[in-house]
Subunit: 305 residues, 2 copies
DNA sequence: GGTGATTGTTCCATTGGTCGAACAATCTGA
DNA sequence: TCAGATTGTTCGACCAATGGAACAATCACC
C-alpha cells in the first residue's frame, strides 16, 4: 500500500507533548523560562521544538538569542497547543478529584439476608459520608458476573472460585449455631445431645453447596444429623423468622441471631455444638488500583463487622 | 517547598500520548488491534496503559484476555482522550494543509520602483494562483526589520549585511546603462565618448550607498564622471520618467528601460559603456523550513526575472 | 471435552532520547 | 567601548523506554 516514502521530511506522527512544550515556550516567551517551568533542561526544550518544526514542515518561531517572535504559523499552532494543555489539565483534575474524594456510581451485590440483618445502617451512613457516590445495591441471590455487570464489590460466603481477575478480602468469620424459640422448646423439650435432634423439627438451609445435613462438632466430637427437615428455605432470614415463630430448630449464623438472643426471642440449642464456620469475603474486580469509592466502602464494611 | 514526596504513587505529569493510546484501545476494543493501528508493539501498549493507570491512581479498564470492559472512570477519561485526539488531529491537519497549499498572510517588502516596473502582473497572478494567501505589499524605501515587523520576504540590492538569522537567494543581476529621449538627443547631440557627458544634463540616482558619480566601464577601460547633476532623485522610476520627458541622460537598469527602448521613447547612450552591475536578492528570515507561501512566491519571483 | 488460535502480560537486550556542560551570539551596564 | 550576564544551540556519555519473543490465560470450534 505504501509504495513510496513521503517526499517531504515527514508528517509522521507528531507528539502532543511537543505541542505542550511549544505552548509553554510561547507563553513564557523564552526557552529557558519554559524549561524551568517544565522541569526540563533547556537543551531538551530546544531539541523538541526543532524536531516539532521538522515534523510540521514549517517554523513556529524565529529565535534570536534575545527575543522570540512567533511565526504566523506559530500563532495558529499555539491555539491548538493551548487547547491541548487545557484538555490534559482537565483529565489530570478528574483523576485527582477522584483520588481525593470518592465519586461516581458504586454497585454492590450481596445476599439480601446479609444486607438486611447486618448492614441496615451502613448504607445510609456511607451515603451520607460520601454524597458524590451514587450507591446501587443489588440483592439478587445469584452470583453476578462482576466484570460483565460492572459490579464494583460483592459479598460472598465460603468457597471462592479463585478467579485471577478478582481480588478478595476476608471480612469476618461467621460461626453457626442452632436456635429455637423458648415457646417451641417448652412444648417439644430442649435437646441435650445431637441424637435428640431426631425428635425435633429441623429448619434447614437450602443452598447451592448445601450438603443436605447438619455437620455438628464440639471439640473433637462430630455428629452428622441427616434427619429429614419439614421446612427448607434458601434464606437464613426466613429460617430465623420461622424459628422465632416456633416452627422448629434452625441453624443460623450467631451474628444473625444475636439480636433475638438478647431480646429472649430465641435460645441457643446445644450450645456446645456448632456447625462449620464460614468466611465472608468481599470480592472485587482488579487486584490493584482500586477506585476510591470501592476502597472507602470496603473500609467501612470491615469496620462494621 | 516540596517537603514530602507524594504519598500515593504519583500524580506526576501524565503523558498525553498515553491518553491517546488509551482512547485508541478503548475505541478499538482490543490491545492488539489498537497496537496495529498505532504501529506499536502490543507490549508497549500494555505497558503504557498500565503506567497511565498508575499515574492516574485508578484502573481505566478491566481486562480479561478476551474482553475489555471500561471502568466508570475509564468512560469519563475516554471523553478527554477523544477530545485530545481530535485536537491533535486538528493541529496535524493545519500543518498538512499549510504544506500542501500556501495560506495565511504573506508580507513582502521591496523598493517601489522594482514593484511598479517589473512585477506589475506578478502580484495579481500570485494572488489568483493562491487564493488562500492574503498578500501584503510594503513599498517603503527603508530597509525594514524582517523579524521585527513579521515580513516574510524582502527584495534588496547590492551588498547584504550577512545576518546569520536571514537567508538570501540571488534573484538576478541588473546591468545599468545610460538612457535619454530621442528629442533630448536631437536637441543636445548624442555623446560619443564619456568625456562628452560633461556637456549634458545628468540625472543621478540619490541612494543610500550613492557614490555621487558615475563609474562607467567598457571592457578594460574605466571612466569616472563627476560632473554635477542638475536633478537628483532616489527613485529610478522618477529618473526614467524624467529622461523620457527629455530632461537629460539617466543611468537606469537595462531591464527598467527595456519597454521604453522598444517603443522608441528612450535610446541607449554610449552603448559600449555601462555602470557596475547590481545583484537583486530575495531576503527572508530563517534558513530552513520556509513557509509554503514564501516558497511559492519566491519561485514565481525567480521565474519572472 | 480437548485442542488450536488468540488474547494481554512479562521479560530482557538494545537503542533512542535525555541530561549536563561547553559553545556562540547577543544584550546590558558601567 | 568593553566586559559580564544571559540567551538558544550543539555535543557526547549515559540511562530509561522500547520492541520482539516467550508466557499464561481464555475462548471457539470441532
Amino acid at each position: 500500500m505504501e509504495q513510496s516514502p513521503p517526499k517531504h521530511p515527514n508528517p509522521e506522527q507528531l507528539d502532543p507533548n511537543d505541542l505542550l512544550i511549544f505552548a509553554r515556550v510561547a507563553d513564557a516567551g523564552s526557552f529557558t523560562a519554559a524549561a524551568e517551568q517544565l522541569g526540563l533542561p533547556k537543551s531538551s526544550v530546544s531539541r523538541r521544538i526543532s524536531l516539532l518544526e521538522e515534523r510540521l514542515g514549517e517554523r513556529l518561531m524565529l529565535r534570536t538569542t534575545r527575543r522570540l517572535t512567533l511565526t504566523e504559523f506559530g500563532e495558529a499552532m499555539l491555539e491548538h497547543g493551548r487547547a491541548l494543555a487545557e484538555e490534559v489539565e482537565l483529565a489530570r483534575t478528574l483523576a485527582e478529584s477522584r483520588r481525593a474524594q470518592p465519586s461516581g456510581r458504586l454497585r454492590v451485590s450481596m445476599p439480601s439476608d446479609f444486607a438486611n440483618l447486618l448492614l441496615g445502617d451502613l448504607f445510609a451512613a456511607f451515603s451520607a459520608l460520601h454524597p458524590a457516590v451514587m450507591l446501587e445495591i443489588d440483592l439478587s441471590p445469584r452470583r453476578v458476573d462482576l466484570l460483565g455487570e460492572r459490579v464494583d464489590l460483592a459479598i460472598r460466603f465460603g468457597d471462592l472460585p479463585d478467579d485471577s481477575l478478582l481480588a478478595a478480602r476476608r471480612l469476618r468469620r461467621f460461626t453457626w449455631g442452632l436456635y429455637a424459640a423458648p415457646d417451641y422448646l417448652a412444648e417439644h423439650g430442649t435437646p441435650r445431645s445431637p441424637e435428640d435432634l431426631k425428635q425435633h423439627r429441623c429448619l434447614r438451609l437450602l443452598d447451592e453447596g448445601a450438603t443436605g445435613h447438619w455437620q455438628l462438632s464440639a471439640g473433637e466430637q462430630t455428629h452428622h444429623e441427616h434427619s429429614p427437615a419439614p421446612i427448607q428455605a434458601n434464606s437464613p432470614e426466613l429460617l430465623l423468622r420461622l424459628a422465632r415463630a416456633g416452627a422448629g430448630i434452625a441453624a443460623l449464623p450467631d451474628q444473625f441471631a444475636a439480636p433475638q438472643l438478647t431480646r429472649g426471642e430465641l435460645r441457643r440449642v446445644l450450645p456446645d455444638w456448632s456447625l462449620p464456620a464460614q468466611t465472608a469475603w468481599a470480592v472485587f474486580p482488579g487486584r490493584r488500583l482500586l477506585p476510591a469509592k470501592t476502597r472507602a466502602f470496603l473500609e467501612m464494611l470491615q469496620a462494621a463487622l
